[in-house]
Symmetry: C2
Subunit: 435 residues, 2 copies
């Protein structure tokens, strides 16, 4: 199957798709939205500043054959059935959507007259979490983050002996995953700063963000049947941005021996659009070579093809908008920049490891990458790292300083692939800390 959807040249008859935004015709991410008129949440595809209503497009008879079956799977209140499809079926649907929305394909004449019924202004729609997340796993594949944080929690052994062998991960909380825009309730919990002899309970004083990618899983595997590394990549449907909000004071006191719990489970924010692996195909790159001296991954994690094209060149940014900046109409300030190529493991390796013991993945499961920090100053994916555990607050152009997040602060993540024509982005992943 030749995929013609990667050509950076085509434009869309939807004018707002041709203005350099996140959602040109080369992207076509899937999500779940509720239009302003209400009704049940439904599947849609972003094109420029519009959302194509798949359910309405189906009723209009715009899909046939396998593409129709795939559109039906993507039209409901959660994208799990679409994620359960084969990669081929998802690609066929994407190709049909590309044909329908292109400026230079005759299919445009089938859909354009119906535009007022089928396309909604994205700005007035409410986006949901794209799937019912059966299980959410958060990995720790950002080695620079692991080193930076390890340095703070365990100065003697920042990187534990297992790190370069085991794609470390833990099970996160599925119930508290929320789409971009939902506010964050500052969590309370126990903390025991060194100066206290017993712990105290109260609102976290060191609320933080974590810059991550979230990979959406499908079709998944049966219990007891591991996914081989060579097949593992085909179980990733696409990606969202993911903010793994973290309360560092609670985390430091609670995390041994079973890992983070209240420090993380109060909320996780995802961007509502699933940017598909098809859209990301032009931005696949080789996994970075491991530094000299690092061990080669064990065979169940090694695949030549995965090493050659299993990483993604996704530029990531974190922006902070404080209440003072808002008052003064200042723009949000970029406080972190990194790239998904800074991950130590590919997503295929994460899938192969997750299932190696027989654990079953289901369509709609979510895999967090772990915080993506780069090696250089300014590339850290959390305030914990940037402020060195709160000791060196970062200085903002508003004249303020931040060791950790304050009430009213808004954190926005962004992701972008390529530059110029064909550039695609991830859309919004923002949330305000409630005061």
């Amino acid at each position: 199957m030749i995929d013609r959807t990667h050509d950076p040249r085509p434009t869309s008859w939807v004018a707002s798709a041709n203005t350099g935004g996140d959602f040109p015709i080369q992207n076509l991410p899937f999500g779940v939205f509720t239009p302003p008129a209400g009704g049940p949440p439904r599947g849609g595809v972003a094109i420029g500043a519009k959302i194509l209503d798949l359910s309405a497009a189906l009723k209009a008879g715009l899909f046939t054959g396998e593409a129709r079956t795939a559109a039906e799977a993507a039209a409901g209140p959660a994208l799990n059935p679409w994620m359960a499809l084969t990669p081929r079926a998802r690609t066929l649907l994407r190709q049909r959507l590309s044909d329908l929305l292109s400026g230079d394909n005759p299919a445009r004449f089938q859909i354009e007259p119906l535009a007022s019924r089928l396309l909604h202004d994205a700005e007035v729609c409410v986006m949901g979490v794209p799937a019912e997340v059966g299980d959410y796993t958060d990995f720790y594949a950002g080695i620079h983050h692991a080193e930076n944080v390890g340095q703070l929690f365990r100065p003697d052994t920042p990187l534990l002996p297992n790190y370069k062998y085991v794609p470390i991960g833990y099970h996160g909380r599925a119930s508290s995953i929320r789409p971009s825009g939902a506010p964050v309730h500052r969590p309370s919990g126990q903390r025991k700063p060194p100066e206290l002899s017993v712990p105290e309970f109260g609102p976290s004083r060191s609320l933080d963000y974590e810059l991550e990618l979230g990979a959406w899983v499908g079709p998944g595997n049966a219990l007891g049947k591991p996914v081989a590394i060579g097949d593992a990549g085909s179980h990733i449907v696409g990606f969202s941005l993911l903010n793994d909000w973290s309360a560092r004071d609670l985390q430091a006191w609670e995390y041994q021996p079973l890992g983070p719990f209240l420090a993380k489970n109060f909320m996780t924010t995802v961007s509502p659009w699933v940017v598909t692996v098809d859209a990301l195909a032009p931005f696949r790159v080789a996994q970075k070579a491991r530094p000299a001296g690092d061990p080669r991954p064990l065979p169940y994690l090694w695949d030549d093809r995965d090493q050659a094209m299993g990483a993604f060149d996704i530029q990531l940014e974190v922006r902070l908008l404080t209440p003072r900046m808002r008052e003064r109409s200042m723009p949000p300030e970029v406080i972190g920049r990194s790239n998904a190529t800074d991950l130590y493991w590919t997503f295929a390796q994460l899938v192969a490891h997750h299932t190696a013991g027989g654990c079953n993945l289901r369509p709609g499961d979510l895999l967090g990458s772990g915080t993506i920090s780069g090696p250089q100053e300014g590339s850290q994916g959390s305030l914990l790292e940037r402020s060195q555990g709160g000791r060196k607050p970062i200085q903002l152009s508003s004249g303020e300083a931040r060791a950790f997040l304050q009430d009213g602060d808004e954190i926005s993540l962004s992701g972008s692939c390529g530059r110029g024509p064909g550039r695609i982005g991830f859309g919004r992943c923002s949330a305000v800390i409630l005061g």
Copy 2:
């Protein structure tokens, strides 16, 4: 509301309910079953060796008013809607069921003539997991287990400084929860025994069980709205037995810093019947006094009423049947005995802690207690503890020894409250290790 369902004297017109089994009329646990004729899984109530089909009983018009609404919530393919009900609604349904199934209540004459249609032989029905588990959390509330295991993993600091303050827990894997009877695939994974300089990959050599109780959650709370300790008990619907299968060699290598992952996520077994808090009311006891010198829990975890009656006197046993015992028609051998009163935290404390930071619980969530070990020899809830990390295999009456589980071994958990008339039990929680 006076609850008359706790009197140990009544018997049922269902003869098999009066023979000392786990399911007398004082129990009436809820579950999901598929009858031998097939059809969709549906809600049922165990009575003796029978299962009352709630869907069929509804069609027969046996429920009215609030009890009818509650029966409808319990009649479907998963008990989540029933768990979402108020405790009062669940109690009303239970009282009606008790009236219908009693030998000395005139309601018997409404149902008894329909028995052949409404009651199925439990033995030929297939039981499922009682709810769709949105999130599964496993706690670590068995202090003797924590001490025993800590001794093996960290001889210097067996019980970490946070243990007596924080109800330690971690998020487990929901997708791999299976009902009693589903076999266990021995997981593969990485291990690094001390004699190796680098890890190796292969099937676990130290597969273990963990004897736990699982608490079913309902109605739950909204994100950002903690459940106060005084209300927390009302969010527990009932209990099942829970076997938190564990691969100790994988666990030892992977668990730092984010907790167990492949070591646990390959499977969790639950007994399929939800023994309700109503049925357990006569077996509520005071939480054991903390040993002298232990800190008093922080205020968000302290409630006088919870301390006075928040624990449950549930006797627990683990039995092992090896292939050799099976060949020789020997009965399973008891290899562990403990009691739920050995837990350091009440389930209300677990709920209050879980939600203290705003994390939302949903109906059908499952909370594992953590391994319940007692203080004395023979009361350990795992082989890891009983065999002291594998160094002292236990001797079986079959002449065999076990440091950890071997292929073909079957582990069965059992739970029981009271003795003689009114004794209730939890039913089967068994699984065989696949060879």
